[in-house]
Amino acid sequence: MSNVVLETRGLTKEFNGFTAVDSVDLQVQQGHIHALIGPNGAGKSTFFNLLTRFLPATRGEVLYRGKAIGTLAPNQIACQGLVRSFQISAVFGHMSVLENVRVALQRPLGTSFHFWKPASSLDRLNQRAMQLLEEVDLQGFATRKTVELPYGRKRALELATTLALDPQVMLLDEPTQGMGHEDVERVVELIRKAAVGRTVLMVEHNLQVVSSLCDRITVLARGKVLAEGDYPAVSANPQVREAYMGKEAAHV
């Protein structure tokens, strides 16, 4: 099993006695697009917070590339190539679109504490930033203030910013949530492209997206793993149908 890049063992999170994530054992294979699905309140976002140490786990451990990362700070985890996005679009609203990507690119330069250098010293990153914007079809918006972008574009920008870190594993929390049909298709294509040579773990409600994009699916319900497998296997599971797809089966 050497090609497991991310693994949890008995990962548990309790909030004042309420168990939001309940001893989850999960293995994510290198190179996979792995979906995490489950009804609202199942604990998916909390699980992401545990993986990236935005929340401390009550019990259990997270192994990334075979090593426990329970002692690292969230930013250190990001530096090691395990990068998350957020359920609510997370962009830097009053920076320009290009600056959003550039602020992710600048960290490896090692000048981020240099308060005496002009910001124009970052201009050499502009070309790379433009390339990343082109990848998500935002090159025409580079100089715009980010708050002015429509929602779907903001999510695309978020993806470009994440890609700027060249992560090994990307955690995407509902990347298509609240999007119109066209935006969903565009983002799905973006993820497909971005996932080449990387691993993706994504929370996704849209089962069409899941079926077309993901190699493996884990179903979470009330904090526990209910089922796991590829799409046909999971969607045939009667427990899953009852817990999750019952309402949404018509949607597929």
């Binding site: 997370a90 920076m95 240099h114 910013t161």
Partner: protein, 325 residues
């Protein structure tokens, strides 16, 4: 605002030209001002302007409300006063440097204790630490307690220029305050400033991009404390006097007022706000309204918060942006 190649060239160029013109005009005014107004009064404005700019670096550009900045102003003043009184061979610039260094160190200490707190808790811890500092200065023998520290010699700048001459003193203070202002301006427009901006806009996202946000905030806090100390140090040399007023929590409150009045998060706002407040003190202090000073400032504060969210400079900037594009 921060980067040169990101905006359409004409807009960027015209904005830069406008900024340069404004800067040169202000510099010209500052250079001739001591021939029109009392140099001492002007120097007081300059010192408080620098103090407010330092405070604004935190509130306006990191989003941290410190309620303890008087401690840094006071420390800069007392340590410089102590050094210059005690060591008669010391030139004023070295005394000021010493006071600034002490405030910077105190800033590091405060910062380490407070920086991981959010919002009101951050404000409360900085207030508590500043109160402790105040009581130390109240008790410590070298400060003169409630009587203050008197007779600090101005000395000779670099051992050459006698600062007893108010005009010489004025230009020295102008040079210091201008350097401090330019340092803040550069800090905001630096690679470091970009990360600060990102943190202020969305802290969890900045963390997820790999930034150790506490370390960035801490550095900003230390820079801010150091420059506030520089302001206090300079003020002591000007007035040849250091007192508890500068370390009192009233002063921490007043710098908030100055910054909000002028425009938080604008580079020039604190300069304008502090000039106004110092001028108000000057005008009202000697009049029958003197005892109403607190009430008047409080009223202005409330009006600012309710009506002029962007402060005077913020208001003007918006106006200019709307009409001069």
């Amino acid at each position: 605002m921060t980067t040169s190649t990101l905006y359409p060239d004409t807009l960027q160029a015209s904005r830069q030209r406008r900024q340069l013109q404004l800067g040169l005009a202000l510099l010209a005014i500052a250079l001739v001002a001591p021939f029109v107004a009392y140099p001492i009064f002007l120097m007081k404005i300059l010192c408080f302007a620098l103090f407010a700019c330092a405070f604004n670096l935190l509130l306006g550009y990191v989003g941290l409300l410190s309620f303890g900045h008087a401690a840094f102003l006071g420390t800069g003043g007392y340590i410089t006063g102590f050094l210059l009184t005690r060591y008669s061979g010391l030139t004023p610039e070295l005394g000021i440097l010493g006071g600034t260094a002490a405030a910077t160190l105190l800033g590091l200490l405060f910062g380490l204790l407070a920086i991981r707190r959010q919002g009101i808790y951050f404000a409360m811890i900085t207030l508590a630490l500043a109160q402790m500092t105040f009581f130390i200065y109240l008790q410590a023998p070298f400060t003169g307690g409630e009587n203050g520290m008197h007779g600090v010699p101005r000395g000779k700048l670099l051992g050459l220029i006698d600062l007893k001459n108010d005009l010489a003193m004025y230009y020295f203070v102008l040079a210091i305050c201008l350097s401090g202002y330019l340092l803040i301006r550069r800090t905001v427009n630096s690679p470091f400033g970009q990360v600060l901006y990102a943190i202020r806009e969305n802290e969890p996202r900045a963390i997820s991009l790999g930034y150790n946000v506490a370390a960035y905030k801490l550095l900003a806090f230390v820079i801010s404390a150091g420059i506030a100390g520089l302001a206090g140090a300079t003020k002591t040399v000007v007035f040849q006097f250091a007192s508890l007023t500068d370390a009192h929590w009233h002063m921490s409150g007043e710098v908030i007022l100055m910054t909000l009045l002028g425009g938080v998060g604008t580079l020039l706002g604190p300069v304008v706000g502090s000039s106004l407040v110092v001028w108000l003190h000057h005008v009202l202090g000697g009049s029958v309204l003197g005892s109403w000073m607190g009430t008047i400032l409080g009223t202005i504060f409330v009006l600012c918060v309710l009506l002029f969210r962007d402060g005077l400079v913020g208001y003007v900037q918006k106006f200019v942006r709307r009409n001069l594009r």
